[in-house]
């Protein structure tokens, strides 16, 4: 098998693609996971992602500091999160619907204010080389890793630990599993959800800034092709477990690299379907991994989509 250069090329491309493309999925899914753990779903993260991409790029362009751009993108994201968290606490206001509305609103604002930043080149995030041990240029390239990717891994591990072992983790989980129980414990349910949604928005904003500031590394209106929404599906697939979120994000990244990689070795018949691989894969995984009879393991009890 290893002798086949075509297969090796595809596998290497998918490995490299997993590292390159997964970071936005990872950040958005961790953010969404946190929000959902508190008992709300925020479909608006797609809008947050796009706005984060635009604002991060704009700030990097104006200040020359891409890291400041990342921070501002996160901050803008948490503002959208705050709006979602605040509105959803009003009675009869549906969190799914508000999410769809904020997706439209966030995207609209990003396009509105993003016009002047399509053309300029902003300073981009650096990468760290981990591949100097290899002679293979493909492997060396694949191991050019952005610090945000590493930060995302660290965040996943931290969230995994914190949700289990800290008081905050317990508060969030209790709020998400049963609001009455949380109330009985004296927890301010709305406040916990507001803060969780803000934190989720912060991460999604950072995920967006990765798109504009590292890979593919420029701001255009077509930058996101549904990554923010797919991350929501990814959370269900990952069973609300931060570590699984990481593996799922890698898988999605690899799926995205499949179409171009196959074409590069001359397999191009039906490339439309290979290009749609991430969507098809997500759907198949959701079909295979859900069940109508029992509620999903790890699913927060208060979550509207799993009720």
């Amino acid at each position: 098998m290893g002798d086949d250069p075509g297969l090796m090329t595809v596998l290497l491309a998918m490995f490299a693609g997993a590292i390159r493309v997964s970071t936005p999925f990872l950040f958005v899914s961790l953010g969404e996971m946190l929000t959902e753990k508190s008992g709300r779903i925020n479909l608006g993260l797609e809008g947050t992602l796009v706005f984060g991409a635009m604002s991060g790029y704009a700030i990097s362009y104006h200040t020359g500091s891409p890291w400041l751009g990342v921070l501002v993108a996160g901050f803008c994201g948490s503002l959208f999160g705050a709006l979602h968290g605040f509105l959803c606490k009003l009675p009869k206001v549906n969190d799914i619907a508000i999410g769809i509305a904020l997706m439209l609103f966030g995207t609209g604002l990003a396009f509105f204010f993003g016009k002047p930043y399509i053309q300029p080149s902003a300073p981009r995030l650096p990468s760290i080389s981990f591949g100097s041990w290899s002679d293979h240029p493909g492997i060396r390239q694949a191991l050019e890793i952005n610090p945000l990717f590493l930060l995302g891994i660290a965040l996943a591990v931290f969230l995994w630990w914190a949700l289990r072992n800290t008081r905050f983790g317990l508060i969030i989980r209790t709020t998400g599993d049963s609001a009455p129980a949380a109330l009985a414990l004296g927890i301010d349910v709305n406040r916990v959800r507001l803060l969780s949604t803000m934190a989720g928005g912060f991460f999604a904003g950072i995920g967006g800034s990765f798109l504009s500031l590292y890979y593919p590394g420029s701001w255009t209106e077509g930058l996101s092709s549904g990554q923010g929404l797919m991350a929501v599906a990814l959370v269900i697939f990952a069973r609300w477990n931060p570590i699984y979120c990481f593996w799922a994000a890698l898988l999605f990244g690899a799926a995205g690299a499949l179409g171009p990689a196959l074409q590069s070795i001359g397999v191009s018949r039906g490339y439309h379907f290979f290009n749609a691989a991430p969507y098809i894969l997500t759907l198949l995984i959701m079909i295979a991994s859900t069940s109508p009879r029992r509620s999903l393991k790890g699913a927060p009890g208060e979550l509207s989509i799993t009720k």
């Binding site: 206001v93 619907a97 609103f105 599906a233 069940s291």
Partner: protein, 370 residues
Amino acid sequence: MADTTETPGFAVETSMASDLPERFRRSAEFVVIPLLALIVSGILFSVFLALLGKSPVGFFALVWKGGFGTSFSWQNTLVRAAPLVFTALCVAIPARLGLVIIGGEGALVLGGFAAAAIAIPMIDWAPTFLLLGVMAIAGMLAGGIWIGCVGALRHYRGVNETIASLLMFYIAVSILNFFVEGALRDPSDPNKPSTRPIGSDNMIGVIPGTDVHWGLLVGVLLCGLLYLLMNRTTFGFAAQVAGGNLRAAQSQGLPVGKLMVVSCAIAGACAGLAGFFEVAAIHGKANASLVAGYGFTGILVSFLARHNPLVIIPVAIFLGGIAASGGLVQRRMDLPDATVLVLQGLLFVVILVSETFYGRLSIFQSKGEA
């Protein structure tokens, strides 16, 4: 949802004592709150424009002129409203069951594609009425099966319908492109991959005296029909009950799964019909232009109409008018095209927030309650 009895404590017999008849108070709520929401959105958007140094008055004057001010503007508005009526129904019908379908665009695309594809072998011999009839059925079937699958996945596998329908939109587009750029490509036009044109003689014409194709009228009739279905039949009543409380409905022995699949299939057929009209009245063939975002605007229309099929008609016209005036706003005020998106997003948010006021404004409650 609009006419469910959301206000608590219905059995108040004090209407004689109040200034206004009880019934009027109740329905007034459904008129006044949305109007207030519109006004609040308008004010918020005016602030947005004013902060950017643009004239809000100028903006709304242009929206009026571009959308409703002249007879041409009305035609423009109605043409843009036609597909929205169908795609909004694709959201509204499943919403009765509590399902949020956001992938109606996929059903539109596949409906249009199926209509154009089935026409290919018939163009040379079939009379127009037969061709169009078969195309319409194919479009409805394709869309119905597509979204019906979403409902089935939801019921039988527990797959979240919102996300599944969105993923299936992306898959629908790849199916369209695969065939339109491949097996079903019409060789006579190498630069815009399309299926074979159905021919201008076979195309659906316009309503006499207007530029608006017959699809709008069909959409309006469909809204009326589906209103009756959802509000005056056992099916609609069962859907309502299931939407209110799924477990209760199941324990009462309602066929929840069947309700879900059928509602979703009806919804998908509506969107598929939109695709059929795009092919049969606008393009004459299927190509990538079918992916024009009507399905996504339809979500907004349905939520603004609170998923009431009859209210969808004016809301679709309202949003059609905003879309129609978008160009004028761009041209005259030097605002980017995304201005309309911002306004739509704002409207969407405010309308959803206004939900919270139903049954809570004391002016609409009879005195005994308030």
